[in-house]
Amino acid sequence: MTDSDPVTLGDIMIITISRTIIMYLFLTIGIRIMGKRQIGDMQPNELVVTLLISEIAAIPLQDSGQPVLNGVVAILLLVALEIFLSVLAMKNIKCRRLFSGQSVMLIRNGTLDQSAMKRVRMTVLDLIELLRGQNVFDISTVAFAVLEVNGDLSVMLKPENQNVTVKDMKLSKDKEGLQLPVISDGKIIMESLDALQITRDEVIKILSSKHTEYENVFLMTMDRYKNLNIIERRAD
């Protein structure tokens, strides 16, 4: 395009599309570098960084007069700062308290700590709502309740209100491990075989004892004690 060429709507669209793709790639890379966290599980500083990044990313997309590099530099710097802060918080407990805050015990030994509730500016109704979210409908059944830094409430019930466990009942239970997908849609997943420490031939042998082949298996899961589930592919 020469300098005398007028800028058409098509050019503007292409510019917007290119800028959106560039910003999308950088945002995805940035979020991947920061690591996996759901919005609800974010620490305060992580939430701030996420909000800022989304705002900064929008500026070059809305205003084509802004160099894309300005947005990219700001996003990458925020990602780097977030990582530095998380490393610092990992190494130093004071920094962690400063940037992420501290969990607060709201119910201690079955007693509501009213001063702690005032400190976190939470009403009893808020607390009851959070307890309901944890399937606790009677506050008198709670031994300990801790408000975590991400806003979640962790609850420990009084011993008489806790669920009965296999250990409590002194029962024996079959050994059970983590079920991993070994075959998905007729394809053997080698990573799962490595984790379960079995070979491909062993899997084929197991399947032949069940009168089937791995190509015909839609899903096969197995744990390290060789407990397995097989769902065969439907003929259609």
Binding site: I33, S64, G65, P67, I83
Partner: protein, 125 residues
């Protein structure tokens, strides 16, 4: 710790990028400013030389516009482009009073672009 090293690499890249941006913008703007100064000095003594310098200045800008657009606000670059075109036009018409006032305004835009790259109190806040 892998992420920490990635963050260090990012900061390093950003530092290099920022230094490059400052150096590139400053050097190119310096070049334009010197040419504009020269046109101002020439005034009405050598109209031909004044026109040639203005023309050269505009040509150089067109060559370097794409690099500058990486670091400088595009609206400011468009404004500078417009001013350089006016300088060329006034020097061709030998309209020296307009030429001098256009040169002064162009210098202000150049200074503004250069200042944006500097770490100063008013650019930070």
């Amino acid at each position: 710790m892998k992420r920490f090293y990635t963050a260090c690499v990012i900061v390093l890249i950003l530092t290099v990028l920022c230094i490059t941006a400052t150096l590139v913008v400053n050097s190119k703007m310096d070049k334009f400013e010197k040419r504009i100064d020269y046109i101002e000095e020439l005034d009405d003594t050598n109209p031909e030389e004044s026109y040639k310098t203005a023309q050269k200045c505009e040509e150089d800008f067109h060559k370097e516009e794409s690099v500058l657009a990486l670091f400088v606000n595009h609206e400011k670059l468009d404004e500078l482009k417009k001013r350089l075109a006016k300088i060329r036009a006034y020097s061709k018409q030998k309209d020296f009073s307009y030429l001098l006032s256009e040169c002064a305004e162009t210098e202000m835009i150049i200074e503004d672009i250069t200042e944006d790259q500097k770490f100063l109190f008013h650019t930070v806040f």
